[in-house]
């Protein structure tokens, strides 16, 4: 179980992993200290292991920088929940083993205690006593996520066959 950190619509990768820290991309622990700094200055210092990033439409738009979901994951985030995701960001999340869940995040408030059940396809909102269903991932992405990401997948299968 973890708590919800709420964000708005159109959170760009420039807010998640700002260009002014470009030189830290090969030093991910340092870069992670600035995760989402452009959107919420309090997030990086206060996020706890197992918490959730909860946002509106088009989360992760902009650059292809995989460092963005990587440092969200490194900060301890269990999953990113949003009404919709930008395409490249979404693919990057799955490739690095960070669940990206599309659901109606209007039903979640800041600080709500959440639990993610990937098998049943629900987000349980313990604070409100409600359950939010989400559609299953496309089969190929589900397999990559289940196996821990694309690096692990390729190490196991030595190919991309799906």
């Amino acid at each position: 179980m973890g708590k919800a950190w709420k964000f708005g619509d159109s959170i760009s990768t420039d807010l998640i992993a700002p260009g002014r820290y470009f030189h830290l991309r090969s030093n991910l622990p340092e870069l992670a200290k600035h995760v989402l700094e452009g959107a919420r200055a309090d997030f990086a210092a206060q996020v706890r292991n197992g918490d959730f990033v909860v946002a509106g439409e088009n989360f992760g738009l902009g650059s292809s920088r995989e460092h963005a979901p990587t440092i969200i994951k490194m900060a301890g985030t269990k999953a990113v929940l949003a009404k919709s995701f930008a395409r490249i960001f979404y693919r990057n999340c799955i490739n690095i083993g960070l669940p990206a869940i599309t659901c109606n995040t209007d039903e979640i408030d800041e600080g709500d205690e959440l639990e993610l059940d990937m098998e049943k396809g629900v987000v349980k909102n313990k604070s409100k006593g409600t359950e939010l269903e989400f559609p299953p991932l496309p089969p190929v992405m589900n397999r990559i996520l289940q196996e821990g990401g694309l690096v692990a997948y390729i190490k196991t299968h030595k190919s991309l066959e799906i």
Binding site: D14, L15, F22, H23, S64, A86, L160
Partner: protein, 418 residues
Amino acid sequence: MTGKTLSEKIIGEHCGREVKAGEVVIVNVDLSYVQDGTGPLTVRRLREMGLEKAYNPAKTIFFLDHASPSPRMELSNDHELLRDFARKTGIILSDVGNGISHHNSLEKYARPGDIIVGADSHTCTNGALGAFGTGMGSTDVAAAISLGKTWMKVPETFLVEVNGKLPKGVYSKDIILHLIGTISNNGATYKALEFTGDTIDDMSTAARSTIANMSVEAGAKAGLFPPDEETRKFLKTMGREEAFRELKSDEDAEFEKRIEINADELEPLIACPHLVDNVKKISEIGKVKVDEVLIGTSCNGRLEDLHIAASILKGHTINPNVRVIVTPASRLVYMEALRDGTTETLMEAGALVTASGCGACDGVHLGVLGDGEVCLATQPRNFKGRMGNPTSFIYLGNPAVAAATALTGEISDPREVM
């Protein structure tokens, strides 16, 4: 069986069978590339995968274009990592000064009908030649580099038909800003955009590359121009006419949506802070004083863009309260601008010309904004913090708007000075 879209045809050719929008397929990749912001992670992923090789090194490129030349030791070390890996594997290295990946790709590598994956979101710029270029992350591109394949969903297509004559002071930049302002920054997520119509027929490859480049700002996976006589001409100029082939959607192809744009009715448009879809007519934004003008980068950094700016700045002096930075898209563009006097015209007016690369747009160097500063740029993005300072403000417009703004010190309608 109904006809096929351009995307369905290209993707079908790369997986050896007919495909329809919505299918998930494995495709052969013709060209893979990374840049210095994403490449070091790609190299680390290749090592983690135990696949420290390229499937086809001659069609794999490491571009050092984002921090070019390096302004910091950390980035110099990243560059060394990429140079060293390229030496060991035979991967092509495009070192600092050669310019932006996508524009080098248009000039030297991309072919109509190719599938190109790049660890840079603006890889869709390759659509200007009718190549299915799409941006992915470092790990996806690592897989493509080592296996020569990637997986993708065949996208549905929005057909964008642009007809009419662009009025004075209005350019392809305004077409794509109009489209993004209309459908929003996720209006085309997962879709391919395909551009046709008589305005497109009359458009140069340079102008097309501006539209293809910014297709991702509407969320699109690709922004495609069916290769035509203009494409042949461009490839011939680049010394590789043999790469040309004609390719277009069938008459009876299924498009998810058709969007019509009347070029005659367009005006110069501005994307206001802090989102690309916050688009307004230049007449609607009021008085906006600027501190910096940026002409070029991956969007509007080709020779004809510099010509547009130079034609307005020629014989004039830029406003003393503004610094004007010009970043050509590639070494080739920079050298052409030197030879034909464009660089001299721009510098005489007071502009500075940087090495070709991603320059100030990525917030690393060559024009980082100060606290509260305002910039008018031709670059593709205006997100908060984009140019290295989260308290600054970025407006996007066409190269003529940029030049007019350089003269007055506030965002200005180029039609008043042309």
